[in-house]
């Protein structure tokens, strides 16, 4: 590719993403803010012609619990850790609060905004590295995800593995379901894909520190290095960590870390892939949006000066195919 690329992917999952680790009451504030944060992000993206990939959990396309259960696949993952199973949760929760579990209007809004790619975060926030699930149940999950998107007239071309539990054995399944791209993890021990047990405190501390100080490099890469058989891996470069009220004095460093990596990518004609969750913007939305605006200001500058482009994950795959 003869320009650098700024790629954004957003893991849109609502409560499904944290259900097994946090109570709804403890996380309600974050989820309540999503309905405001997403339209603000979309406005910002439209204003600056930013293309983003929204990896959306299939449940979010549904209006309610009954619709979710009827769209669910018959072959379901048999996680050894029963708490991971979203279907058991769905079946046992007759009075689910819909705004924390379903978001068809927001999905429509994303799809209707220019340059936005609706992609998959699997149907059920599926964990590919947890014991008890199989490639067959993963395939059934993806079939359900593509079906429910197709019902909205959407074709899913990109996927983000929930909890970044990408599994090389499952890539063939992605290809069978027509996915052209997925987001792999940053390189290095800090970011290695593991099951839940593998995410120890040392890794978490390292990642936190790495978002302020350059411990692990910029994680940018040439598009050509992603060439191969489908699906193509466009690894993450950096997680856009939400503003931490206890670390506000370090916000400058965090922004500097991201800007440096963006400049590095722009000047070397490489890809910088930033990702986050909408619920990360659910509290302190104003401050998080200001931070995102500053990141996008940097991109605007690099677009003017270096010709950097904003490309979603499927667009990266198309750009690679065109070479």
């Amino acid at each position: 590719m003869n320009t650098g690329a700024f790629t954004i992917s957003i893991d849109f999952e609502l409560y499904w993403g944290v259900r097994d680790t946090r109570s709804l009451d403890a996380y309600r504030d974050h989820l309540d803010g999503v309905a405001q944060a997403i339209p603000r992000m979309l406005d910002l993206f439209e204003q600056h012609r930013i293309h983003a990939t929204w990896a959306t959990v299939g449940f979010l396309f549904c209006h309610d619990r009954d619709a979710a259960l009827s769209a669910a696949p018959s072959a379901r993952p048999g996680y050894e850790n029963g708490a991971l199973c979203p279907y058991r949760y769905l079946e046992r929760s007759a009075d689910l609060e819909e705004r924390y579990h379903f978001a068809p209007r927001l999905v429509e809004l994303v799809a209707a905004t220019p340059g936005q790619e609706v992609a998959s975060h699997t149907f059920s926030h599926y964990y590919c590295r947890e014991a008890g699930q199989t490639a067959a149940t993963f395939s059934a999950d993806l079939a359900a995800a593509t079906r429910i998107a197709a019902a909205q007239g959407l074709v899913l071309r990109s996927l983000v593995f929930p909890r970044n539990q990408w599994n090389p054995d499952y890539l063939a399944v992605l290809a069978e379901h027509g996915f052209a791209a997925y987001r792999g993890n940053e390189h290095g021990w800090l970011y290695a894909a593991t099951d839940h047990g593998g995410q120890n405190a040392l890794r978490r501390m390292g990642r936190l520190l790495d978002s302020y100080v350059n411990l692990s490099g910029h994680h940018t890469y040439t598009l050509e290095s992603c060439a191969g058989s489908l699906p193509l891996n466009f690894p993450a470069s950096r997680f856009l960590r939400p503003c931490n009220p206890r670390l506000t004095w370090l916000e400058g460093l965090r922004l500097h870390r991201i800007r440096r990596a963006m400049r590095h990518a722009a000047r070397r004609r490489e890809v910088f892939h930033l990702w986050w969750h909408p619920h990360n913007f659910g509290v302190d939305t104003d401050r998080n949006m200001r931070f995102l605006e500053r990141v996008i200001e940097e991109f605007e500058h690099l677009r003017r000066v270096e010709g950097m482009r904003s490309l979603g994950m499927a667009e990266l795959a198309d750009a690679l195919a065109a070479e």
């Binding site: 003869n2 320009t3 000066v305 270096e306």
Partner: protein
């Protein structure tokens, strides 16, 4: 009747101004190839400068380069504003016509020029062209120089004109290329107008924006057979990067930013 457009090859440095110039010319010329010269290694650059200028000056220049990173950040808003004002586009040339080389003074570049036989060769931001390259085809090589020549040859001609309170000669030159440093015959010159919000990093944008129409006119002259060069503004002088000490001295004594 459709007017023929010039067929050109561009020999460029690997910088933003080359992309701005490419996009500006792409609408009015058939660009057959863009040869982009990779930046020389910093070590080679330093060695070359030490030989010419001596260690004390080079250390001062390096200090200014570091300082200018901060300065560029302070002047970035104005920089972006000017890019929008002048409609400059940074989209790189298509890969199909782009050739990355370590030096423009290589046999491969000469072979490419002979093969394409353009009407003219546009030069921007490369090292000094060798006589072998200039003579490999009998076509004009035309350069946009950020300064009025021969009075402000070298680099940062706009800045040095302002330092010398020579506003009349703060401008840009489009000239023929010979084997010297910006010593070729002058085709067109244009004065630029600096505003209070401008600084060291934005003068070159004004110069490039003013130089683009001059380059287009020169290329039209090539087709019309009316390319005529003349002497520029004397006396001749070659200028280099300022040292940090020079910059700070002129910043406070002469208010040149």
């Amino acid at each position: 009747m459709n007017r023929r457009i010039p067929r050109i090859v561009m020999l460029c440095g690997d910088g933003t101004s080359s992309r701005f110039l490419y996009n500006a010319l792409a609408t009015e010329a058939e660009i057959l190839a863009v040869v982009i010269e990779r930046k020389p290694s910093p070590r080679a650059m330093i060695r070359h400068r030490v030989r010419r200028l001596g260690w004390p000056t080079v250390i001062g220049q390096l200090a200014f380069i570091v300082f200018n990173r901060l300065l560029a950040r302070l002047q970035r808003r104005r920089f972006d504003e000017l890019i929008l004002r002048y409609g400059l586009q940074a989209t790189p040339p298509p890969p199909g016509i782009t050739h990355q080389v370590d030096s423009v003074n290589t046999a491969a570049v000469r072979r490419l020029l002979r093969k394409l036989d353009p009407d003219a060769v546009v030069v921007n931001g490369t090292r000094i062209l060798s006589r072998a390259v200039i003579d490999c085809i009998q076509r004009p090589f035309i350069n946009t120089h950020a300064g009025i020549t021969p009075r402000y040859r070298g680099v940062h001609g706009g800045y040095w004109a302002l330092v010398h309170d020579d506003i009349e000669n703060c401008g840009v030159t489009v000239h023929l290329v010979d084997a010297g440093v910006d010593t070729g015959g002058v085709l067109y010159q244009q004065r630029i107008r600096i505003e209070d919000s401008d600084g060291f990093n934005t003068y070159p944008l004004h110069q490039l924006a003013a130089g683009i129409p001059l380059m287009k006119q020169a290329l039209r002259d090539v087709l019309d057979g009316s390319l005529v060069s003349h002497d520029g503004v004397a006396p001749s002088g070659q200028w280099y990067h300022p040292t940090l000490g020079q910059y700070l001295r002129y910043r406070f004594s002469r208010s040149v930013k």
